[in-house]
Symmetry: none
Amino acid sequence: MPKVGMHAVRRDQLIRATVEVIRDHGFADATIARISRRAGLSGGIIAHYFGGKNELLVASMRWLLRELQAETGQRLRDADSPPQRIRAIIEASFDAEQFKPGVPQVWLAFYAQIPHEPELTRLHRVYMRRLQSNLLHAFAQLIPRPAAVDAAEGMASMIDGIYVRAALVERPLDTGRAHRLMNEYLEMLLGRHDDGFDRRDPSPPPMETSS
Amino acid sequence: MPKVGMHAVRRDQLIRATVEVIRDHGFADATIARISRRAGLSGGIIAHYFGGKNELLVASMRWLLRELQAETGQRLRDADSPPQRIRAIIEASFDAEQFKPGVPQVWLAFYAQIPHEPELTRLHRVYMRRLQSNLLHAFAQLIPRPAAVDAAEGMASMIDGIYVRAALVERPLDTGRAHRLMNEYLEMLLGRHDDGFDRRDPSPPPMETSS
Amino acid sequence: MPKVGMHAVRRDQLIRATVEVIRDHGFADATIARISRRAGLSGGIIAHYFGGKNELLVASMRWLLRELQAETGQRLRDADSPPQRIRAIIEASFDAEQFKPGVPQVWLAFYAQIPHEPELTRLHRVYMRRLQSNLLHAFAQLIPRPAAVDAAEGMASMIDGIYVRAALVERPLDTGRAHRLMNEYLEMLLGRHDDGFDRRDPSPPPMETSS
Amino acid sequence: MPKVGMHAVRRDQLIRATVEVIRDHGFADATIARISRRAGLSGGIIAHYFGGKNELLVASMRWLLRELQAETGQRLRDADSPPQRIRAIIEASFDAEQFKPGVPQVWLAFYAQIPHEPELTRLHRVYMRRLQSNLLHAFAQLIPRPAAVDAAEGMASMIDGIYVRAALVERPLDTGRAHRLMNEYLEMLLGRHDDGFDRRDPSPPPMETSS
DNA sequence: AATGAATGAGTTTTCATTCAT
DNA sequence: GATGAATGAAAACTCATTCAT
């Protein structure tokens, strides 16, 4: 009788290898041969566990999103005010794990593929909507609704922008400076309306449901 | 007798086809067959005019950067104050041309390839440094140096972030809202120091040299 | 304690699955994965019971031939005149079981493989010789020897032809019409010599030995 | 500028190689590697000229059917009475070319694949219907309609049966004996009604249209 | 006895490149 | 200048076999 739990172990092993290969070679050059070699397994194993290369790639992006989502969810649960909730999102995005060398490149590679692979489009849309919803609800408790909409959009853009640039520039911002930039932006967004706006918002924060 | 300028015509034709194919299929699926078919030419032609596929891809990114650079340069020449210079950069980046459907996807595709192709790395670095330099000089005339460094970084990140998101979300911001977000951010960046800082900066603006 | 006869049960189970898969997908697409899944067993089981895929295929054809042979033998034992013996062969070949949808396709698939797999060649040769011998002996008691040789050949060809066509046409003959065609042919073959030929043949009918 | 007509030459070359490989190894073992090697070309060429292996196989069967159809059509055009038309069909089917060693095996291989590949099903159906129609029309001018229907079916079955057996037995009938068997069958079919049936049939023979 | 994990050879397909015309 | 025929390497995928449990 085969060892139990092998399924999960192997899938994880292969997904990690995939992420590493994409990090080192880019999406277009992430071949089955490279991935399976990196995982220390044979090429045929990918068909065995994922059905095909594309499913492995999708599973890898799903895994990345889940990791990030888990981080975000954890921090959101610990936050108990709208500003803290916003900061929780920033901190999850700029977690040390996400800023490790190579990690932004992997995200960027998947980002570029999103418009061309429907399942990636779907995965990303789900993630992004949840993020946007969280940001909007938090801002809406702090500043007037129209400003909150722009603030949420701006905040999300800033997060993405800093992160994408981390993949592109030789010496990316350290996480400290990334945080500082984000927090200054946040302060400015909130400060503009620091003029008597009633911050008490009766609506509860959006649920953190796992998809 | 060959037509004069055929060389330039064909190269342009192939570069445009390359951009279209990357837009429609992504970087990994931009094959010579597809590109040459789109250009209405035979597959062999690419070796003839570019030596190989990779050179064509590099030339295509160079072409994109030149277009953007030309736009930026034009607007910068028309600007005659630091804030106007900053706005010129924003406006060039969020030009209607750059926001056409598909265009952000193409940039994103090249972005993802930049870390893996040295010549793309180089091209992008040159472009980015010039942009950064322009932004920094402009900000440095408006706010204190340490704040200017952060402002330039933040502004560049915001530009990239908004642009990348335009490739990823179903309904990207229209250029109007993109501009508004940028301008609000700019005002906030400048406003924070709107407290007697001497905006006169003796250093000249950076040269607009074509690479 | 293993059930008694498990060996035979499993072999039968796998052979039936093989026949069904060949029926549905053809010989070239009868994979071990499909066969074992159809049998409700794991892929490894085939090596366990047959040594390998090819042995399973050979065993499957042997099984088909044995079934047909059993049917033929039974009917021959019930026949007590040369014409009845010929009809017994016809009836065994066009038994309802053999005309079930899909069955002719299976035979055809094996037929096509016979020239390329020595063991199948052997199996089929044995079967065919016995059939031919039975037909020839029966005809030889009814019509002159040279005519009997042709009649046996013609009868065997007609059987094969009707059967192969049952695999190829959309609406195969029903067994009734198949029988009628065969019987008419038989009558014609015999009728031509219905002119005083001595039907009494001293030679005994060929033995029905099981291979 | 490439040589003109290469397209037709190469396709023919590859189809012939395919037929030879199927003849020697069977359908399941007719690999692209073997086929292209036999044709003296590289494996990639098959994608170039046929798009894929399956299209090559379909084209090969179409080619075989066309050859046979051409032979049949030629002989039918030379026939000027119903019995001659029937004999024309027999003779085309049992042409020396079709009885060359290996040829029946190739037909048998394609036959076995017909139920599993829709395009082969279609090709064969078209061919078979035309044959059946020709036979029926000819018989209908010679014997009563119900008998003609059976005669056409029986004749087609006999042709297929003799031909299939040619692929299966060690020493197939020589074409002479095959013809004799067929002609005897034909005579019997016609002779049974040699009793005053009005052979004059006003309906014209079916058109020989190329598909 | 039976599983299904894992392999690796082999197969089809893809594709950039080369080159004669 | 331009084609598209042809290649061959590399890619993804298939699949029979092996084997530890």
